[in-house]
């Protein structure tokens, strides 16, 4: 088919124009996902400066705006322990900040600055994550960002959603509820109070403090889900200065159980992790009726693993004399479960 020359030139010009527009559009569309997210979220990020600046205690941490009037969510830490608390916004503005209130159990705090019309992350629009959810962590770790420099962004995934182990001494904080354990190195000075978001910009959680897992001696990277901290944040913004939180300390039993009371004599507790082997079973006791024998290795008390004699004695401190306990023992490579009670010698297998 032949076209007249002028028409051909016209068509070619049109095609070329279309090509140019598309080519110009390509980088714009590639920019959209991650950059768009960050351009929305960075303005709400805040650099917090306060008390500290000597060994092990930095004088800075991270935070983010949660209301247009200047409420800032951050970590409850020694940085806030001063009357000279100030924040630097993403656009470089320095503002004096006031501590509105904090929750010592969750280790969160809400600050207030005097301003209006500020960009903020809406807690109402928060999302939930699951293991493998790709995340972005925004924080001023190491205090790298100054003035109007945007805070540091890291990428990773959620490693697992779990409860921090409630067993004593596992973690050095009182909170033992739901957290996101992160596959991203956020466990760094100054990161606490930062924001954990999805790649498309939805808020998930607040970055936690530097924390060590005493059960395997590793540092963990964790964040507090918005759902967990919402009630405390609301309480603080409603006027409560210090949120007491639920006391999760387990009370010791008034009259605690002992192995003897159940009819068990354990091997002498001589080394730090003496395995809780049964040395002898007392005649006419709950243990003897349940069929426990010397050389049985006690491995679980109810659902708690008892890795040593010491652990078993400690765990029994929280069981009252009248309680029925479930013991799981290891005998000849088999697990056996028995229920025992010190009173009335109830023994059901």
């Amino acid at each position: 088919m032949t076209l007249s020359r002028s028409t051909t030139t016209c068509t070619i010009r049109r095609v070329l124009f279309f090509l140019l527009v598309t080519v110009a559009a390509v980088p714009a569309r590639a920019e959209s996902s991650l950059n768009k997210t960050l351009r929305q979220v960075q303005p709400a990020m805040v650099k917090v400066y306060g008390a500290g600046g000597f060994r092990g205690l930095e004088a800075y941490q991270s935070g983010f705006l949660i209301s247009p009037e200047g409420h800032i969510l951050t970590a409850y830490s020694t940085v806030l322990d001063t009357t000279m608390l100030h924040v630097v916004l993403d656009d470089g503005r320095h503002l004096d900040a006031k501590l509105l209130g904090g929750d010592a159990r969750l280790d969160i705090a809400v600050l207030k600055v005097d301003a209006e019309g500020l960009p903020f992350l809406d807690l109402d629009k928060a999302a939930e994550a699951e293991p493998g959810t790709p995340i972005l962590a925004l924080s001023n770790m190491f205090g790298v960002a100054m003035g109007n420099e945007p805070v540091t962004v890291q990428q990773g995934v959620v490693s697992i959603v779990t409860d921090l182990d409630a067993r004593r001494g596992t973690f050095e904080i009182p909170y033992t509820g739901r957290v996101y354990i992160l596959d991203a190195v956020t466990n760094n000075p100054g990161a606490a109070g930062g924001a954990l978001i999805t790649r498309d910009g939805r808020l998930l959680a607040m970055l936690g403090k530097e924390l060590r897992n005493a059960r395997n001696n590793t540092w963990i990277n964790y964040a507090l889900p918005v759902g967990e901290l919402r009630p405390s944040v609301d309480a603080i913004m409603a006027g409560e200065r210090v949120v007491a939180g639920i006391d999760l300390g387990r009370p010791k039993a008034v009259r605690p159980l002992t192995p003897r009371a159940l009819g068990l004599v354990l091997v002498p507790d001589v080394v730090p992790r003496t395995p809780p082997y049964v040395d002898a079973v007392l005649d006419d006791s709950a243990a003897s009726e349940a069929g426990l024998r010397p050389d049985d290795l006690i491995v679980f008390l109810d659902d708690a693993l008892v890795p040593s004699c010491r652990a078993l004695y400690d765990e029994l401190q929280y069981r009252d004399h009248f309680e029925v306990v479930r013991l799981t023992v290891l005998r000849d490579r088999q697990l056996l479960e028995v229920e025992l009670s010190a009173e009335g010698k109830v023994a059901r297998q």
Partner: protein
């Protein structure tokens, strides 16, 4: 029209690109989630009861660890570090929530794999193992553990960073590998297991080596095919260990030089295979060896008990050697009878006993001076060197039969060999010296291009037709120079040439002085008649430290080293049947180094080296007559058989 169609198609592809870039995020996330879901049923949680609370310097964690089911018989694998504390009980939580007791079947200490078994039917499904040949650097890799929650797995995402790490034993990944997933699987995006996550270090084979690299961006996984091969062997119930050969290769820059054997450990696989010092290894198994670095790569991944063959060049010959690796190289302890042989050469065959050492096997067998040993276990003995070499090849506690010729009779005796005494006898008979013998004299030695002052003392009765002991001595820099007077009498009595060397610097002994020692030894061996069995370097304090380091470097040219209150640094010296070596450590209670010296002595003794520790009264940095008497007495014992 067709032309425009092409343009439109190109535009269409072009504009689709950015869409793909955003879509990959959710596609990738789905693939990862499915991959994890595919392997999760096989991932188990492990808890232990009892055991030690420390492994070396490492405090044992109390938290749960991870394991991986591998078949439907109840076998599972985990990282050996999870059991390094020797627990009394092992509990496993399967993915369906059931708790089972598990027992440890065997451990692969070389690849850090523990094989466990539960006795139960109806297990969750075993995972699919990836084809090792398909694994590529840059592929996504997900590390899965079950260390937090029995109901949920925890994940860490990264890539395959490298293959064949840690001498061919591991894949390397940048996913966060830590006690939270040691013992769990490293999977690809298809949910197939590419490897088992373990802590590992190229520098050490210790149980806990590599843990310090947790979450660092460098993590290791044993490739699946190696895991399954190990499991097949572990099922028999025997632990696996890394294999040792027992040879050292001559060092060169970046180990790029030829693979020349620099030493062979006695009774080792290398010795049994017929390897000798100086051999050049040209082939190991299927691989031709061009650079000595290749040797370690060929052998380091193999297990004790594995056999392999080598081709070596010895001169013009090419020799085939077969060796079987062992888990441990036994130290060599030299057995002795406890006699000092007559030093003068004679026409007569056998060994004339000059002195019998107190409380020795020979003393107990009632051998006396003047006896002549003519045969050992039925074979005639040519001379002292012959007898020494043969006895050295036996083991302590072995019984030998000696045939003796005494002035009175010819008799046979059974003697039980022992290691040499660990203490120095208080006295040792000095041969009667001819009063007409040439008096001893001091000579100044000069070495070209060396500034050190060197004085030698040739003992009374020095003669070219006799062999004498040689001692090169380096004093403490805080002691007075020129203490030859303390040595002369003893040197005369025991026929020892004493060379006193001054440091090149007034303040301290410098590393460069070690080269001077080497030159002195070379000069004396050339110029004087020296007994190769009694060639010693020694020193006090800083001089002694230099002496030990020099001795370690030139070990094969010396018979021993004597140090007083000196810090022992440098490589560990061991004994050898073809090249005996002994150490004398004089140690003053007043010295700060005393405890360290005792520990060093113990360590060296454990490695088989004959070490005598001598208590001394003098100041740590002052030479006394007691010292010179003791040292020369010790040198006089060095040709013990």
């Amino acid at each position: 029209m067709t032309r425009y169609l092409h343009v439109l198609i190109a535009l269409g592809i072009f504009s689709a690109l950015p869409v793909t870039a955003t879509a990959f995020d959710s596609l990738g996330q789905d693939a990862a989630r499915n991959a994890v879901a595919k392997v999760a049923p096989s991932v188990v949680q492990i808890e232990t009861v009892g055991g030690n609370d420390r492994v070396g310097e490492f405090a044992v964690g109390t938290g749960p660890t991870t394991g991986l089911l591998i078949d439907d018989e109840g076998y599972m694998v985990s990282s050996s570090i999870n059991f390094a504390h020797s627990p009394s009980g092992i509990l496993v939580r399967l993915s369906d929530g059931r708790r089972q007791a598990a027992h440890l079947v065997a451990t692969d200490h070389h690849r850090k794999i523990a094989l466990l078994k539960v006795d139960t039917a109806d297990l969750p499904p075993a995972p699919v193992f990836a084809d090792g040949k398909q694994v590529r650097v840059g592929q996504w890799a997900i590390a899965v553990g079950r260390a937090f929650d029995a109901q949920h797995v925890n994940v860490a995402v990264g890539i395959i960073s490298a293959l064949d790490r840690v001498w061919g034993k591991a894949l390397q990944t940048d996913a966060a590998i830590s006690p939270n997933n040691y013992g769990g699987p490293l999977i690809n995006l298809r949910g197939e297991v590419v490897g088992l996550l373990v802590p590992m270090s190229p520098a050490s084979d210790e149980e806990v080596a590599g843990v310090e690299w947790y979450d660092s961006g460098i993590g290791f996984a044993v490739p699946s095919d190696q895991v399954l091969q190990a499991v097949n062997r572990l099922k028999a119930g025997e632990d696996l260990h890394g294999g040792l050969v027992g040879m050292s290769i001559k060092k060169s820059i970046a180990m790029s030089g030829p693979a020349i054997v620099s030493s062979v450990v006695p009774n080792s696989p290398a010795e049994k295979a017929g390897l000798k010092k100086g051999d050049r290894i040209v082939r190991v198994g299927e691989t031709n060896i061009g650079r000595s670095a290749q040797i370690k790569y060929e052998l380091a991944a193999r297990y004790a008990g594995d056999a392999f063959n080598m081709l070596v060049r010895r001169g013009d010959e090419t020799i085939h050697c077969d060796a079987t690796l062992v888990a441990k190289l036994e130290p060599y302890w030299c057995p002795v009878l406890g006699i000092l042989p007559e030093r003068q050469e004679s026409e007569e065959k056998g060994v004339l006993v000059r002195l019998v050492l107190p409380e020795s096997p020979a003393a107990r067998a009632a051998i006396v001076s003047g006896d002549r040993i003519v045969s050992l276990d039925g074979e005639p003995v040519a001379d002292a060197a012959d007898l020494r070499a043969q006895i050295a090849r036996r083991k302590p506690a072995e019984k030998v039969t000696l045939e003796l010729e005494t002035p009175a009779e010819r008799k046979k005796l059974d003697v039980q060999l022992e290691v040499t005494a660990t203490t120095l006898p208080d006295t040792l008979a000095i041969p009667v010296i001819d009063p007409e013998a040439k008096p001893g004299r001091e000579i100044s030695l000069t070495l070209p291009e060396r500034k050190n002052e060197i004085k030698a003392y040739l003992p009374k009765g020095y003669a070219e037709d006799r062999q004498h002991g040689l001692l090169v001595w380096m004093r403490s820099v805080t002691d007075e120079p020129g203490k030859m007077g303390l040595w002369k009498q003893h040197a005369d009595g025991r026929g020892i040439i004493v060379v006193l060397m001054e440091p090149s610097s007034k303040e301290r002994w410098l590393p460069g002085d070690a080269d001077v020692v080497r030159d002195v030894l070379r000069l004396c061996k050339k110029r004087y008649s020296v007994d190769p069995n009694r060639l010693v370097v020694g020193g006090q304090a800083g001089g002694g430290a230099l002496a030990y380091r020099t001795a370690a470097r030139q070990r094969d040219e010396l018979s021993g080293c004597a140090v007083l209150d000196a810090r022992l640094t440098g490589s560990r010296i061991t004994d050898h049947p073809d090249n005996p070596f002994r150490l004398l450590i004089g140690r003053s209670d007043k010295s700060r180094l005393a405890e360290g010296l005792d520990r060093a002595a113990d360590l060296l003794r454990k490695g088989g080296l004959p070490v005598i520790t001598l208590p001394r009264n003098g100041a740590p940095d002052r030479l006394t007559d007691q010292d010179t008497a003791a040292i020369t007495r010790w040198i006089d014992l060095l040709d013990e058989i």
